[in-house]
């Protein structure tokens, strides 16, 4: 079999030369320059959760809390009290105490 044919068939098995010892350690790490630059530009610290809208603020991810339930209970109480008070006024329109 032809030598070039063998090499072409083996090409998929041999990894490409990216980080040879010479490339990485030669000349005070010049080869790492672009790599260091890329990583130094990335933001540091913990990931801040994306906050937008009611869902982002109270429901998604780590922001999930019981506040919507409290808001619901307070809202229902306010609506219920208003309706009850209104019905009470209607009742007293024709019936004095």
């Amino acid at each position: 079999m032809h030598a070039s044919l063998v090499r072409r068939q083996l090409q998929g098995l041999i990894p490409p030369k990216i980080a040879t010892p010479k490339l990485v350690s030669g000349d005070a790490g010049t080869g790492l320059g672009p790599l260091v630059e890329f990583y130094s530009k990335l933001p540091k610290g913990r990931v801040t959760p994306r906050v937008s809208g009611i869902k982002g603020r109270y429901f998604s991810g780590e922001n999930a809390s019981g506040k919507p339930i409290v808001a619901l209970i307070v809202g229902l109480f306010a609506i219920g009290y208003t309706l009850d008070y209104n019905m009470h006024l209607k009742h007293h329109k024709n019936h004095a105490h």
Binding site: P68, G80, Y81
Partner: protein, 255 residues
């Protein structure tokens, strides 16, 4: 005491018109928004809101809301699969929505001044009778005339058949009422009790300081009863859906 009047503890269940239109169209048209309709709309909005906002948007890590939703889905799904059969998951959406309707109806009625939708006979009995009719139609469409064998237990002597058919028929028809009355009676009883006790407690608290301090003891019991009511809200929603599942199983499998 002219200023002392206590409303009936049952007045909280009265369906009253909030806003309405009377129009001389189609004879005499009356479109009214009652408190029952308003709170039914609230239930719909809460159920929709929970599922839209609680949805995890296909994220890998669930949040607390989506965990609660997934847990309830898993329990209802396993209930349907255990009760009706693994091939009968077609009934899951119905059972799921029924559970959340009754659950939210029960739970929001525990907020003071709100209206208990499921304590209305027209809602709970309407639901149970509708389900009963639907289940019977389903059974007739699946099994045809064989459905009537449901009223004769296997191994019955021929002489006893007329009597047993009568008994089985009555017990079958009673399902329509018992399902609704169970929910209705539980919610009405609980809310009436809380209303009566809170009226007493209000009178006791508005007396002298010493009596108000002593009243804290019965008030603690009252708080425990509120906890019991919340538990009843959950249990009744679960029992209702569980029984609907078992009726569906009878319709699908006959015995």
């Amino acid at each position: 005491m002219s200023g002392f009047n206590i409303l009936s503890p049952l007045s909280q269940f009265e369906v009253s018109s909030l806003i309405g239109v009377n129009a001389p169209i189609l004879g005499y048209l009356n479109i009214t928004l009652t408190n029952l309709a308003l709170y039914s709309c609230f239930i719909l909005l809460i159920a929709l809101g929970l599922h839209l906002y609680g949805n995890n948007d296909s994220n890998l890590i669930p949040n607390k809301w989506s965990i609660s939703l997934e847990t309830s889905f898993a329990s209802l799904s396993s209930m349907v699969r255990e009760q009706i059969g693994a091939q009968s998951e077609i009934y899951l959406p119905f059972i799921y929505s029924l559970f959340f309707f009754i659950l939210f109806g029960n739970l929001i009625s525990n907020v003071p001044y709100s209206f208990a939708v499921t304590a209305s006979g027209v809602v709970s009995l309407g639901l149970s009778v509708t389900i009963f009719i639907g289940v019977t139609i389903l059974a007739l469409s699946i099994h045809g005339l064989k459905f009537f064998s449901f009223f004769i237990p296997s191994g019955t002597p021929l002489a006893l058949v007329p009597l047993l058919v009568l008994i089985e028929l009555v017990s079958y028809l009673a399902r329509a009422v018992s399902l609704g009355v169970r929910l209705f009676a539980n919610i009405v009883a609980g809310h009436t009790l809380l209303k009566i006790l809170s009226t007493y407690l209000y009178k006791l608290f508005s007396g002298s300081v010493l009596i108000a301090v002593i009243t804290l003891i019965p008030f603690a019991i009252f708080l425990a009863l509120i906890g019991l009511e919340i538990a009843v809200s959950l249990i009744q929603a679960f029992v209702f859906t569980l029984l609907v599942c078992s009726y569906l199983r009878d319709a699908v499998h006959l015995h």
